[in-house]
Symmetry: C2
């Protein structure tokens, strides 16, 4: 315990410096989905590789067909397990920019009404702040002990927010370098501010963009209105038809492979003290809008969804223009659970849309990423070890929870490298990731570093697999 | 006839100069709906007032709460009728700009495959080219005879493309100046390239913009998807529900005041030689998409419509963003016929939308203009006089047709100033008004001037009202 104590103390003493390093990373606008920020993504990768090398990792930036990967390795003591830590340095776009109260890429520490501090910037929580908690834990171990308690490989991706197109080829090509005893991912939330969480389930994701076209050019709605097909009407009908009146998705075969959560697990969820009113109320809602007869935790953790994420067509500027647009577009994503097959869902959706097209209309489909859901065994020894360590750091025992979001890498680690993934994160539900004024609690940043130090220390003592 | 012949000959000899003047006007980007072009709208008004003054009109630019009006007056011979000519100097926005093959505000003359010439620019047909045919006819009369054959008041508006908010107050405030024996409007099409047309019916227009809001901010579709209301789904459902499976509009009371076209008129339309295949085929369509059981001429001339002109929400940039938007917007317009009441339609639509809102959702409505349809008597002596004059100029006799578009001023002239409006225009169906590469046939510009000279000459001889 002596060395762990000194590591924790080193983390406490260096909090300001670790914050400065995080700010340097947050200042890099590494928006992966927008081609204009390609150079910034590489700059973020270079920054991280340099920082890891300074700590003592064998670190390098690896090119892909898209944004580069950062890969770094540090051996552990003989006989200790070796873990793979994954994070992503890319961030979401910042629009609507006018709703930010400070510049998205000029990080600041703000004080909340309760006196707590928070780091505000795009990427503060998702995922730069989170991944740096692990890096800082490693730095403190090296500074205090000259080594790490177990072997660590670090993989930072730059395309997590844009469908991870380069990830699978990279995993396949570097299988030997990446293989470890287990994977660690820090891209998830705490259960609440006093209760850390280990996520045992994650929804998958299929993204599709569709473009409906009718006339060969935009038409005057006076001359043609009433006779010409309107792609916005057709697209709206398709979107409206995606759900029935009970909130279920109507695409044929959509629920193939969707299982039910065992009663024991539902009972554990019921005991978490989750308040639907508070969860919805925080964002101005009061009634669960999804599948009827399901709790909000079921709706977001164990049920699949179809959501329109963006839609555009015709004249959308100031004023009015009486036009019938030649085309209309929508970005639609599906959250998958259990054994739903991403490829089958994509095909079923495309068939669903195509069958609804009236005469003279065409549709283009563009795929934007696809990954299945994952479900970890509740009795994993890795989970047990992490729970011990987390419970030492936080006021409450760590909860085992589900997750509505998608972290495609977890499924790939399982299916391609045969590793379980330990999903431990220090985000909070109000972090506004993907939204204006994204923030990360200073407590998350500080105690997150301490948590990883405890987990690494605990894993270094061995895991009974 | 001697003086008319010399006027026509003056028009022929000065075609190049008249084209130069039109180009000067087309170079002014007077986009009324976009506040960035406010100064350009005034510049267009100043240009026209100056030109009319140079011809000999008492011309001035009159301020309004929006873009200014141009008002000009020239007395005619004792006992001759006095007409009010109306046109609009404002133009539509130019997007999608990337589809233009030349700059929208750098007019050029291009040769069509058949050797005919056309003027290409935003506003070439709608309405700068058309209004200048009348101005040039007046200029030729003044040059050749020193006077005009009848009294002429000219009113040029700068807000026709953005709902004409200042028009009614202006008509009310200047009722005495504007009152005339009849109104002339040049903002419509020929029947075909050899057949001039007089429009006896025009659809009205109601524009509405709606904003559907749910959560207080954009949400991550992983954390909230399945539980949170999605404004794009709600908007799509509203749009999808606007029409039933036969293409009829489902808003309660929408068809109140909609009459049927008399069989005799339908028979005249059937004899026009209109080809639905050609009309739709020209813009890449083949099947009438609107109300079932109606011909395309009925659908566009005598039936009301509900069309979405623009829709936007969520992430619409490059790539993908898994967001549930806080709001979704649509611009929706209604074309009205017969006695449909614009105010009643607006209220019925708003009630229809409000009734469909689920829990936690709100809607904002923004009005964008409203005007009823007009239907001229088929036996008007003004129409008879204009037909005579037009038939002298063109190969075929002038047709009496309906119109799908809306020219709100015609209804206002009738209801507020008690004047009939003669709708004579020289546009063609392929002019691409409101679209990229708008054009106006050189023949329309040239023979349009000659047509107005003949009509003014004919009206100067008296109309038996």
């Amino acid at each position: 315990m002596a060395s762990l104590d000194s590591v924790l103390s080193c983390i406490d003493l260096n909090l300001d410096r670790s914050l400065g390093r995080l700010f340097d990373l947050l200042r890099i606008p590494s928006i992966s989905t927008d081609p204009n920020y390609k150079g910034e993504c590489r700059r973020a990768a270079d920054y991280l590789a340099g920082d890891l090398a300074a700590i003592g990792f064998a670190a390098s930036v690896r090119d892909t067909n898209g944004h580069p990967m950062v890969l770094a390795r540090h051996e552990g003591p003989e006989g200790a397990p070796h873990v793979l830590f994954y994070g992503h340095y890319d961030v979401q776009p910042v629009d609507p920019i006018e709703l930010w109260t400070s510049e998205p890429f000029e990080p600041v520490v703000k004080e909340a009404p309760d006196g707590s501090k928070r780091i505000v910037a795009r990427g503060a929580a998702d995922d730069k702040g989170q991944l740096m908690t692990f890096v800082e834990a490693c730095r403190a171990f090296k500074a205090e002990t000259g080594s790490l308690p177990c072997g660590v490989t670090i993989l930072f991706e730059g395309e997590e927010e844009s469908g991870s197109p380069s990830l699978l080829p990279f995993l396949e090509a570097h299988r030997d370098e990446l293989k470890a005893d287990a994977a660690l991912v820090c891209d998830t939330n705490m259960w609440d501010r006093r209760t850390p969480a280990i996520s045992t389930g994650l929804r998958g994701l299929v993204g599709e963009e569709i473009v409906i076209k009718a006339a060969s050019r935009d038409l005057h709605s006076g001359y043609y209105g009433g006779a010409a097909a309107n792609p916005l009407h057709i697209l709206s009908k398709i979107v409206a038809d995606l759900h029935d009146e009970t909130g279920r998705v109507t695409i044929p075969g959509f629920y193939d492979g969707v299982g039910e959560v065992p009663d024991a697990v539902k009972a554990q969820w019921d005991n978490l003290g989750f308040s639907e009113q508070a969860f919805l109320g925080e964002v101005g809602l009061s009634v669960p809008a999804g599948e009827k007869g399901r709790s909000v935790l079921e709706q977001t953790w164990s049920r699949p969804t179809a959501e329109v994420n963006g839609m555009i067509g015709g004249y959308t500027g100031a004023g009015f223009k009486t036009v019938i647009a030649a085309e209309a577009r929508a970005k639609i994503s599906f959250r998958l659970v259990f054994d739903q097959d991403p490829a089958a869902i994509r095909e079923a959706f495309r068939a669903f849309v195509t069958a609804k097209l009236p005469a003279d209309c065409t549709v283009e489909f563009h795929a934007h990423g696809g990954s299945g859901a994952i479900q970890l065994p509740f009795d994993s020894p890795w989970i047990a070890a992490a729970r011990e360590a987390l419970t030492d750091e936080w006021p409450n025992e760590a909860a085992m929870i589900g997750m509505g979001g998608s972290i495609p890498i977890a499924g790939e680690f399982k299916h391609r490298l045969g590793m379980e993934t330990l999903l431990v994160g220090f985000g909070n539900g109000d972090d506004a990731i993907h939204s204006p004024n994204e923030k990360y609690e200073m407590t998350s940043f500080h105690k997150g570093q301490r948590s990883w130090a405890r987990i690494l220390d605990r894993l270094g003592k061995g895991v009974a697999v």
